[in-house]
């Protein structure tokens, strides 16, 4: 059946998936740069307005994952914004997120070099999500 993408239930499951991924724990052991927020742009009728996720990441652990409004998401040290279709590509591992940022398929607010240094951790965040049973709303 799957968990609806970007729902509260999906966000809770994503936190569990990150913390259950030993490769993420290793790859992100040096991550002390704070919250990473994700914004999915509005996709009517599934998302009438922009929706966000607040990921409090620290040294290989996701301390908190919760829904957040786009205005608050933009206050995070790092905020990555994309259309629904782009996030779907990321979760299906069709789009590597850092390359997606550099091509303009995703937009980064924050310090690019810090993100680049964490390229393997970013990949494991994607792997954590890709391993979930996600229900995409347009399928």
């Amino acid at each position: 059946m799957g968990i609806p993408f970007f729902s509260d239930e999906w966000i809770s499951a994503y936190k569990a998936a990150i913390n259950g991924n030993p490769a993420y724990k290793t790859a992100a052991a040096d991550w002390t740069y704070g919250v990473v927020a994700l914004i999915c742009k509005a996709q009517p009728p599934f998302f009438p307005s922009d929706v966000g996720i607040w990921l409090d990441l620290d040294r290989g652990v996701c301390r908190e994952a919760r829904p957040v409004g786009p205005a608050d998401a933009l206050k995070a040290p790092f905020c990555i914004t994309g259309d629904y279709a782009r996030w779907k590509q990321v979760l299906k591992k069709e789009l590597e997120p850092i390359k997606g940022m550099m091509q303009g398929k995703l937009r980064l607010k924050g310090d690019l070099p810090t993100i680049v240094r964490a390229v393997q951790a970013a990949q494991e965040l994607v792997n954590s999500a890709a391993g979930m049973d996600t229900k995409f709303l347009d399928e």
Partner: protein, 390 residues
């Protein structure tokens, strides 16, 4: 030259390119074509005193709102903020940049602030902008950075002691005016360094992890032109054919790497430049052959193409041997145009190589290197070879 069945890429190169000796006099016409009436001219203190900027201001006439000439050799946040303030106070609706890469990158930063407001640090990110920025006409006076057609701006934050890289399709300049007569005064050493910078853009675009056929075509021809015309431009700065072809090469290579990206070589050059003030083009020239050797086991077939483009006879060689021949040919080329061959000669202390390697791992370019670079020890190996010339 083979491409995979799942080849997928974006190619963007929206800049209108105007070429010819003397065409900088048309800047007013080009500006009007963009629907603009009040341009902020952005340049540096040296060029401000020359006829180059005087002629541009004259061509603009009443369309020149003000001239900002406080661009330092390395573009920085303070200059961008000050330039934007000057532009706002004079009601500028557009920018005309006249100079090298630092001037053009400063102008890109000013273009953001004139449109979005605030300070440059408010807009730190990548592909963050959502609309076209202030119209921008570039008039490059060097032939190397390709900034006149790229989506990058490298701007130093002196307080944080780091270089910020802005990458956004919305800051690609609208018009590039390539006037070879403006580059005749460039000294031989700068001609050589900027020319090798253009060559490195072509090479790294060709071998990048994001390589694609359109950038391949641009990069290969750029390398061909640089190899043929750079020695002549270094030897005789008044050679208008050589100067012109070098400007074209730089622009072609700029469009190539703005799409295919660059790799480890630029990550090294950015780092060595930031920490030890080695000219960006010279740093690329020094490390280029060593990066070719590092990548050769992954992209030897691409190195063969580059070798062929610059006239190395590789017909009897395997791809791997052709790649090594390319590295040798690059070192010979660097030497021929009078640039140093080692970071030791360029004044980089050996004791700092490890710190340079660590910093290079944070450079956005490294993501696109032909061969994935996962450990700073790999970068350090290349740096050590480039330091000693081994």
């Amino acid at each position: 030259m083979e491409y995979p069945a799942d080849l997928s890429f974006l190619f963007t190169s929206p800049t209108r390119v105007v070429y010819g000796a003397g065409v900088s006099r048309d800047v007013g016409i080009e500006l009007a074509g963009l629907g603009c009436r009040r341009a902020l001219v952005v340049t540096d203190g040296f060029l401000r005193k020359t006829e180059i900027v005087a002629d541009v201001v004259k061509s603009l006439g009443a369309s020149c709102a003000a001239v900002f000439s406080d661009v330092p050799p390395d573009s920085d946040v303070r200059a961008v903020n000050a330039g934007a303030e000057l532009g706002r106070s004079h009601g500028a609706d557009s920018i005309v940049s006249v100079g090298g890469g630092s001037v053009i990158d400063t102008a890109k930063g000013i273009a953001i602030l004139l449109k979005e407001g605030g300070s440059l640090l408010d807009h730190q990110g990548y592909q963050l902008l959502t609309r076209r920025q202030t119209p921008h006409v570039c008039i490059p006076t060097t032939a190397g950075t390709g900034s006149e057609v790229t989506y990058f701006a490298v701007i130093k934050d002196h307080e944080a002691r780091r270089k910020m890289i802005f990458g956004d399709h919305h800051i690609i300049p609208d018009v590039a005016i390539l006037d070879p007569s403006l580059t005749v005064g460039l000294p031989p050493v700068l001609t050589a360094a900027t020319g090798l910078d253009a060559f490195s853009h072509g090479l790294e675009a060709l071998t990048s992890a994001q390589r694609e056929p359109m950038s391949d075509a641009l990069g290969l021809h750029a390398m061909r032109l640089v190899r043929r015309y750079l020695p002549a431009a270094v030897k005789n700065g008044s050679d208008m054919v050589a100067r012109g072809q070098m400007l074209i090469a730089a622009t072609l290579a700029g469009a190539a790497f703005s799409n295919a990206q660059v790799g480890l070589l630029h990550a090294i050059a950015h780092t060595v430049g930031a920490r030890h003030a080695v000219h960006h083009g010279a740093a690329n020239a020094i490390a280029m052959a060593h990066v070719v050797r590092f990548n050769n086991d992954v992209v030897a077939d691409r190195h063969r193409l580059a070798a062929e483009a610059i006239g190395v006879d590789v017909r009897a060689l395997s791809d791997e041997a052709a790649g090594l021949a390319l590295a040798e040919a690059i070192s010979d080329f660097v030497s021929e145009v009078g640039l140093p061959l080692t970071f030791r000669e360029a004044g980089v202390p050996e004791a700092d190589l490890a710190a340079c390697a660590e910093l290079a791992m944070s450079d956005g370019a490294i993501v696109y290197n032909a061969k994935p670079v996962l450990r700073s020890s790999e970068v350090l190996g290349v740096l050590r070879a480039a330091w000693a010339g081994t």
